[in-house]
Structures are given as structure tokens and as C-alpha cells.
Amino acid sequence: MIPPEFDYVAPDSLDEALQALAGGGGDAKVLAGGHSLLPLMKLRLAAPGLLVDIRKVPGLRGVQREDGQWRIGAMTRHADLQGNADLGPVGQAAGLIADQQVRNRGTIGGSLAHGDPASDLPTVLLACEGSLTVASSSGTREVAAADLFQDYLTTAVGDGEIVTEVRVPAFDGWGSSYLKFTRRAEDWAMVAVCALVKKASDGSFEDVRIGLTNMGSTPLRAGAAEAALRGKGADAIAAAADQAAEGTDPPGDLNATPDYKRHLARVLTRRALEEAAA
């Protein structure tokens, strides 16, 4: 399988990259790690006229902590994040993406800008209530996770924009878990759940965040389950998890019916909450 023809530039600065992108109009695409875009192009499901490769743009890589937040450069690869315990669910989920080769190329910015509801980091960002810094020729803006994922493979990142940074709260003192259900280790999630819990001194859950992967056209929050557990103790986990699929309408596919996905969401939510709370 071979991608269709396109023009290619690899600018040395963000400004040049933005200019190139603007010059290409709607026909230009940003190339980060390429592990969402190139497979689509090889299958000829995408045919951009210009690829703007941002690998030479300085300052887009790396993880640093600042003011209780993690600032992760958009070109930071999954491999740089996998297993990083400081990053909580980001590190947990990054290690479960596809396989090592993919994690060695795929980037957090690319994954979030692509916004596949079956991929892992969008759900984590949503559950963490993180945000993206997005640059364009008219300046930079912050996009909150809640505003980012608009529809299937549609995000708030515009044609002329480049994601430069991902911000995730540090979640000190929280417990987290990312559980992914697949047929095979390298598969996309059939359903996955990101759970974050903060316990009060009496052991009750002061705050709870639950994100759902592949339960709709975008990553989702399990709001009802979160609400059901807030202020309660561990004995309320099962009942709260039972509400995990409330309001979801997942599409069926080869491996799962909508009912089965909703069932998995409930089971995985319970297990993820138990793991996060442990």
C-alpha cells in the first residue's frame, strides 16, 4: 500500500511551519509521528496535498512540571511517556498504546489532534481535564479537553493550527488507573476506562473522574458514575460503576455489540476504580 502523491516541507521553526500550513490551505496536514495519518494515506482514505513535517521545529518535545501541571511537548512520543509513574494515567495509558514500534513514533500531540475515540490518550486528557496549546499564524490559544473532541475524528484543532503543548494537572495524591479491553494486546480498545480518584482523610472519595474510550464518536466522561461515587466510600464503587454507561450510545462493530460495550464499560469502570483506589 502506497500513499498518494503530496508535497512535503520540514520547516525549522514554528513560524515557518505555520506559514507553510497556511499556504497549503485546507489541503495541508501537519505530520508529527505520522502514525495516525500515514496509515490512512496508505489506505488512500486521506490524500493531503502538502505535509508539513514538524520534527525539526524546536521546543516541541519533553516533559516538565510547572505550577502543579505537567507540560508535555506535542512531539513527545508515547515511548517517552510509557511507564512514567509521575504522569499517572498518561503514563499508564501511553504504555498500552499499540506496540513498542508504534509508541516509538506516535506523539501525544498527534494522537490528541486526530481525536480517535478508540485511542487512549484522548480519554485520558478528557478525564484529567487537561488542555492543549495550539498555535496559528494569529497567535496561540488554549483548548480545554472538554472543548477539543467535537465528533468522530473531528477536533477543535483547525486546519491552520499546530498543537504545541499538552497540559495535564499533576494529580498529586490521587490514585489512577487505565484499563483497556482488547482481543489482542496490539489492538485498539474495544472499550477502555480511565479512572482517577482522590480520597479524603476518612477514606471517602473526595473527587472522581472517569473517562471512557470507544463508547461514542468522541471520548466520554461517565458523569453519572462520577457523581454517584463522589463523597462515598469504596463500598459504593460497584453501584457507581453500574452507571458508567449511562447516556452512552456506542456503535456496534465486528467485535462488540452496543450492549456488550456498555457492559464492558461498567465492568472496567468498577475494576479501574478499585485499582485507582487501592
Binding site: 500500500m1 502506497i2 498518494p4 502523491e5 489506505l43 488512500r44 479491553f181 482481543r183 489482542r184 494486546a185 496490539e186 489492538d187 485498539w188 474495544m190 465486528l254 467485535n255 462488540a256 455489540t257 456488550y260 457492559h263 464492558l264 465492568v267
Partner: protein, 785 residues
């Protein structure tokens, strides 16, 4: 490579020598079809039908032809000078098989998604893919039928108007009075058992490179059957066979997928002749999933009769087999091939298998690892567990009660097939030495449903005695002997030509061991050549676990002929009686005088510089053998599988798998274990992960490795293997095949284990594939009932 701690000429057979093939493969120096580059090569890309069933209204190639670098766009009309359509080679005596004409490029209509409509040939690999997208084909869609039971309805759309219905053939094998036998049974167990469609999916896709030079057409192909391909190219393109040379270089796995004569091979050869440029085509995985033949896809209505004490009385399988849209090389044969071992390892006095072949708007099925025999074993072994359940009898006790006993071999089944040798109690006993079922149940992890399943199997392979498998027997239109030439060079090096055509099995190593033992040299001194129709004698290629049993035996015979000549030369040179010359420590010596002897190199020098040979002896040291067996071989064994099921999610994990197999005398245990591991995983793949899925419109849902789920290392356990040794009387090496055995045995063991695990959840039967969704659904339904 230090392989020779044992003295040369003594006991290389049976040793776990590491492979001669590997040094080139682990360093990236293997030469697969795609690796071969010829100057001036043109690339070929296929234009395939997106419709499952449609009339072709028009094909407009003008835009494609205008693209830079495009040399030709071909359709069926351009290839009107082909002398014959793609072949189907099974003509069973006494049965009618309706085979539709199947041309390499679709003629007037398409019958499955991916049916090739045109090809684009051009200078650039990437450019022809672009140009193929520019070929505009107008289709008039026709009604589609994908369900085999629906396809037989009188109002179903008929795919091949000339045949008049979607039934391709009916074929029955068996013996005895079924009706009376069932009437005489205390219990009759009936199940509808579905064996779903799978893909062979070797990691190397298909590919072909064809060059016509000075009147000789050479084709490099990813094929298991270079000799068959040469024959059919001659038949389809014209001229006699020796004008064609087919080379199967390194082939990256076959599994039956490459036992085929494919459209692309013929088109590339035809175009190379017409355009007088080399033509190369490399299949993509997406194409592979569409148009490399599939396997299995049967619905069987199985009926087993037994006495209350468990004695089996009768077995009947009515099989609906999905042929797909066309018959490829052996499509309709496959379910019948399984029919011959439908009774498994049991004495069942009355058995019948009735096969109905059905056309659907899908790609053809054909031989995939096991080819009919995995389906047969699955049927009988799953059915026996079901029967044991109905009888309230231990499933191993039921098996033991009905095993063909060791002393009953050779054993003639009601199908008229004679099992060569076996010891089913022996393999099961050995299995249970490794496997303590009670302990496995005690050790089940909390929260999981644990299940244990068994499969005791035999299979028919070592294809084949021609009188039984050929035109007058099973009905395959060929002979099935095998050839070898063994040549000793002046300096003592040995070249073996074999007519078999390996694609991963390790023939170079195993044949080396066999020949080295007979000639008194190191296996490293033996080079085994294969897969080139211009090198060595006519051969009949590799499939049906035949290579060792037929081709290895042939190599042994040729080497033994040479050994006789060696003895006579040595006797003459050392002035000793021929009967006193023996092979010892890598030397031909006079018995009792180890200091008096000749090495193979010395013998060969004497033979090639013939100043002192026995009277009337020809010079040089070369012998050939063309040999065919009197009977098939019947490997057998006993497997146990342990699964743990997550009751909440339905996910099945194979936590332990023990395989005890008997393939007769072992040549190289390392290779045997490797074949068993791979074979078992092929069946675990089918049982738990893999399925070719078409939707009702005939669109292929599992079009890539994203959806066609080959298991990875992470889904599998390590395996425990052991062997019993019951030599085959069908060849003097005493060997049986092992390439397909694991695949034939394992799907039933896994399925029985899953059903066993689910019994507490109220589930008593399930068809494969046992995916999380389906297991969860079964638990929901079982729990509800």
C-alpha cells in the same frame, strides 16, 4: 556450525540439529520473490471489483493509459488467446462437479469482492497503483448471496447462470446401513457444528516475477507448487512444459494458501510474453485478505449414535461447504478429504459423510493447513464431548472405550481407508503423565471459569499413493510420487535435489540428516536444492504433510542406491567382500578393521577418476529415485488444553497446552516441536481469534490485519510437547507427517475446554470463534435459561 558430536554416518537422524537454512534468514540474506530484481522490470497493479456480484457494463482505461509510465492496461478481452481457464483438478469417480469457467480477468461479470477486472502495467511501482485508481469500471449490481443455506433456496440469486443453481456438487463417502445403525442405538446425539471461514495468512503475501527471454518463460512465484504451476502455465499459455521454468525461491510461509494456481501468476506470465519485459506483482495484505484463498467455511449436521455403555454405533455428517464464487485448484475436494477421517481414532461400524458444495459471492475456499481434516477432527471430537455429556460418562473413558486398539492396526475404516499404525491408548496415557486434570482444577484462580478440553486425533496425510488419491481413487488428476537425485561431488560434497518445495519446514536440514547417515558424511556437507523446475527431476511439491513421508523417503532411497555403489567401490579398492563393507565413524571400512577404509571423498574421487572401478561399473556417484508409497500415513496424538475465562468479560485465555503427538520415527525433534507449536497456534487462532467475515452485501469486513486477528505472542502460553513413536509401515523410514497435525488436533481441544468452563454458567455448546463477545453472549443466554 557445530552439529557433529556424533560420528558422521552414524545417527544424525533423530538428532535435534539446528537448521542449515537459518544463517541466511537471520542475517537478512534470504531471497524471497520480492527481493529479486531484474533489469527493465515493469510493475503490475490489479483493478479489483468493489462489488460482490455485478455485470461489468464498461471499462474505461483511457485516463490510466495517459499516465506517465503506464505501458499497458489489460482486460479479459486482451487475454482472449488463453487456451484454458484457471484450473480445478478434482474429478471424483461417480460424482458430478459443476465448475464455472474462471478466467484470470473477469469476463462480463464479477462474482466476489476483489475479482480482478483489469491490470495496469507500468514502469513505476507507485505509479501503477495511482493509475489503477484511474481505471473507471461501470458495474450493474446483481443480487448477492453469502449465506450457504440461503444460497440453496430455490429463490436465491443464482451466481453462475450456466450451472442453474448454486449447488456445485454432492459427494458421499462411507459404508454400512445408517438407518439401521441409528435405530439400534440407545442414544443419538445431534449437533449443528459450524466451522467458520479463515485465512491462511502467511506473513509473506503472494508475489510473482515473470520474464520471457529467448523463448523461455521464467516465473519466480511465492508458491508451494512450482511443478504444478509450470504444468498449468503450459496448459493455459501454450507450448510444452520445458519452455517454462518456475522457481519458488525462499517462500515466506504457505499453510495451503500458496497451493494454488492464481490469476496473477498467469497474467504476469502472459504479459511478460506479450510485452517482452519482466513483470512483477507483489500482493498487498488487503489484497491477500480478499483474493488469496480462504479455508474451512462449513456447516455440518452431525449425528452420533451410541449404546448406553458408550459403544459407538454410527456416525453421520451432512456437510454444507462454502466453495466461494469459483472453484480454485482443489476447492470442492477439501470437505471430502476430511470425510475420509471423519471417524477419527474410533471404531465406528457405520459411517457416512455427505457433502454438498455451495457457491456464494465470496472468494474461493481451498486447502488451508489441515484442509478438511481440522473440520473433521473438530466435528468428531466436539461431538464426543457432547455425547459423553448426554451419556453422563467421562469423556476420556468414552474415548478409551472406542479407540481402535494398537493390535487392530493396520485398521480398515468403513470408508475403505486403511490406517497404517497407531497407539491411541499410548498417546493418551503419555498425555496424562504430563497432565493431572484434578490438580489443574484445584489450582484454578479465583474469579475465573476454568475449563479443560481434550482432543485425540488422527489424520490422513503423506499425499499420496496415486491409486488411492489419484484419478481412480479420491479423484485428484495427478500422480503423487516424489523424486530425489543425490549427487556426490569429486571432493565429497553432496547435492540433493528434491521434488518437494519447502516454505519454512526445514527440508534442507532434515534431508541432510537422512542422506548424511546413508553416505557417511557430515550433514553440513549436504546441500539440498528445491523449488526450481529446471533443477533436478520432476517433482510434485509440498502440501498434505507429504514432504518427509514421500519426498524424504525418496531421498533416502536415492542415497541408499549410492551407498550400495560406494560399498562396491570400497570392496573393490580394498580387496574385501562387498558384504564386509560397513559405514562406521564417517568412513567406509572393512568390518572389524577400522583402520582400513575410505572416506566418502575418497570413494567419490575413485568414482570420478575411474581407473580402478569394478568391472562394468559406470563412473561418477549419482543416483535418482522416483518413489510412491502404497498407503497414506496417519499421524495421531492426544492434546489437552486448559482455559481460564473471565466470567464478566467473556475473554478466554489459554493457560496451558500439552501436546503428545506421534509422527513415527523422528528425524529432527527440534523441527517436529516447531511444527507442533505453529500448528497448534494456527488452530488456537481459529478457535479464539480469527474469522473471515463478509457482510450480507458481500463486502469483506475483515480486510486487513487490524480486523483479521492473528494472535500475537502476548495472547499465547508456552507449550509442552512430547511424543510417542509408532513407526509407519507406509515407508521404510517409518515416518509420518507433522506439519498439519497440530492444526488438525487443537481447535477441538480449545473448544471443548471453553465449553467445559462454561458448563457452570449453563452453556452446553458453542461454535467457534470463541470471541469475548460470543462467550459473554453465551453466558447471558445460558444464565437466562
Amino acid at each position: 556450525m557445530s552439529t557433529t558430536e556424533a560420528p558422521a554416518g552414524n545417527g544424525h537422524v533423530g538428532r535435534a540439529l539446528r537448521r542449515k537454512e537459518d544463517p541466511r534468514l537471520i542475517t537478512g540474506r534470504g531471497s524471497y520473490v520480492e527481493d529479486i530484481i531484474l533489469p527493465g522490470t515493469l510493475w503490475m497493479a490489479m483493478v479489483r471489483s468493489p462489488e460482490a456480484h455485478a455485470r461489468i457494463v464498461s471499462i474505461d482505461a483511457s485516463a490510466a493509459k495517459e499516465r506517465e509510465g503506464v505501458v499497458a492496461v489489460l482486460t479479459n478481452e486482451d487475454m482472449a488467446d488463453l487456451l484454458a481457464p484457471l484450473p480445478m483438478a478434482w474429478v471424483p469417480p461417480g460424482a458430478e462437479v459443476s465448475t464455472p469457467e474462471h478466467w484470470p480477468l473477469a469476463k462480463g461479470k464479477v462474482c466476489h469482492v476483489g475479482d480482478p477486472v483489469a491490470v495496469v502495467i507500468g514502469e513505476d511501482r507507485y505509479g501503477v497503483v495511482d493509475a489503477a485508481e484511474d481505471v473507471v469500471v461501470e458495474y450493474e449490481p446483481l443480487p448477492v448471496v453469502t449465506d450457504i443455506e440461503r444460497a440453496l433456496d430455490s429463490d436465491a440469486p443464482v451466481i453462475h447462470e450456466g450451472i442453474g443453481s448454486n449447488k456445485s456438487h454432492e459427494h458421499s463417502v462411507g459404508g454400512g446401513d445408517l438407518e439401521a445403525a441409528f435405530a439400534d442405538s440407545d442414544v443419538v446425539m445431534e449437533r449443528r457444528i459450524v466451522n467458520h471461514r479463515t485465512s491462511g495468512a502467511p506473513i509473506e503475501c503472494r508475489g510473482v516475477l515473470a520474464e520471457d527471454r529467448a523463448g523461455k518463460l521464467t516465473i519466480w512465484s511465492t508458491t508451494q507448487v512450482p511443478h504444478f504451476l509450470r504444468l498449468f502455465l503450459a496448459i493455459m499459455l501454450g507450448g510444452s512444459e520445458e519452455r517454462y521454468r518456475v522457481i519458488a525461491p525462499e517462500v515466506g510461509g504457505g499453510f495451503g494458501t500458496k497451493l494454488q494456481i492464481y490469476a496473477e501468476e498467469v497474467i504476469a506470465a502472459w504479459a511478460a510474453k506479450k510485452l517482452q519485459r519482466p513483470i512483477k506483482w507483489i500482493e498487498t495484505r488487503s489484497e491477500h485478505m480478499m483474493t488469496s484463498h480462504h479455508g474451512r467455511d462449513q456447516i455440518a449436521y452431525v449425528k452420533v449414535g451410541a449404546k448406553r455403555d458408550g459403544t459407538l454405533t454410527a456416525f453421520h455428517a451432512r456437510i454444507l461447504a462454502d466453495m466461494g464464487a469459483y472453484h480454485q485448484l482443489l476447492t470442492p475436494l477439501i470437505p471430502s478429504l476430511g470425510g475420509y477421517v471423519m471417524t477419527g481414532v474410533y471404531k465406528i461400524p457405520v459411517v457416512h459423510t455427505d457433502v454438498t458444495g455451495v457457491f456464494t459471492n465470496k472468494f474461493a475456499t481451498d486447502a488451508i493447513r489441515g484442509a478438511g481434516r481440522p473440520e473433521a477432527t473438530h466435528m468428531i471430537e466436539v461431538a464426543l464431548d457432547q455425547l459423553a455429556d448426554e451419556l453422563g460418562m467421562d469423556r476420556l473413558e468414552l474415548r478409551r472405550k472406542n479407540f481402535i486398539a494398537k493390535e487392530d492396526f493396520p485398521y480398515e475404516t468403513p470408508y475403505g481407508i486403511t490406517y497404517d499404525s497407531g497407539d491411541h491408548h499410548g498417546t493418551l496415557d503419555k498425555l496424562l503423565e504430563h497432565f493431572d486434570e484434578d490438580a489443574m482444577r484445584r489450582e484454578a484462580p479465583a474469579g475465573k471459569l476454568r475449563g479443560i478440553g481434550y482432543s485425540t486425533y488422527t489424520e490422513i496425510c503423506g499425499l499420496a499413493p496415486t491409486r488411492m488419491f489419484g484419478p481412480t481413487g479420491v479423484g485428484v488428476q495427478a500422480g503423487f510420487w516424489e523424486s530425489a537425485v543425490v549427487r556426490v561431488h569429486i571432493t565429497g560434497g553432496v547435492t540433493v535435489f528434491t521434488g518437494t518445495s519447502p516454505h519454512g519446514q526445514g527440508h534442507e536440514t532434515a534431508w541432510g540428516q537422512i542422506v548424511a547417515d546413508r553416505l557417511g558424511c557430515d550433514p553440513d556437507a549436504v546441500t539440498v536444492l528445491h523449488g526450481d523446475t529446471d533443477q533436478g527431476p520432476m517433482g510434485l511439491d509440498t502440501y498434505g504433510s507429504r514432504s518427509l513421508a514421500v519426498g524424504g523417503t525418496s531421498a533416502a532411497i536415492a542415497a541408499e542406491r549410492l551407498a550400495d555403489k560406494c560399498k562396491r567401490i570400497v570392496a573393490h579398492q580394498l580387496e574385501a567382500p562387498v558384504e564386509d563393507i560397513v559405514l562406521q565413524d564417517g568412513k567406509w571400512i572393512v568390518r572389524g578393521s577400522p583402520d582400513k577404509g575410505m572416506t566418502l571423498g575418497e570413494v567419490s574421487m575413485a568414482a570420478h577418476v575411474p581407473t580402478n572401478l569394478p568391472e562394468g561399473m559406470d563412473p561418477a556417484l549419482e543416483a535418482s529415485s522416483f518413489w510412491e508409497p502404497d498407503n497414506f500415513v496417519f499421524p495421531f496424538g492426544a492434546h489437552a488444553c486448559v482455559v481460564d475465562i473471565d466470567r464478566e468479560t467473556g475473554k478466554v485465555e489459554v493457560v496451558r497446552y500439552v501436546a503428545v503427538d506421534d509422527c513415527g520415527n523422528p528425524i529432527n525433534p527440534l523441527l517436529i516441536d516447531g511444527q507442533v507449536h505453529g500448528g497448534v497456534v494456527h488452530a488456537i487462532g481459529q478457535a479464539l481469534f480469527e474469522q473471515v467475515v463478509y457482510d450480507e452485501a458481500g463486502q469483506l469486513v475483515t480486510g486487513s490485519f487490524v480486523d483479521y486477528a492473528l494472535p500475537t505472542a502476548a495472547e499465547l502460553p508456552s507449550f509442552e510437547t512430547d511424543r510417542t513413536v509408532t513407526p509407519s509401515p507406509s515407508n521404510h523410514l517409518g515416518v509420518k507427517g507433522i506439519g498439519e497435525a497440530g492444526t488438525i488436533a487443537a481447535s477441538a481441544a480449545v473448544t471443548n475446554a471453553v465449553i467445559d468452563a462454561l458448563r457452570p454458567a449453563g452453556v452446553t455448546y458453542m461454535d467457534m470463534p470463541l470471541t469475548p463477545l460470543r462467550v459473554w453472549q453465551a453466558i447471558q443466554e445460558g444464565g437466562a435459561s
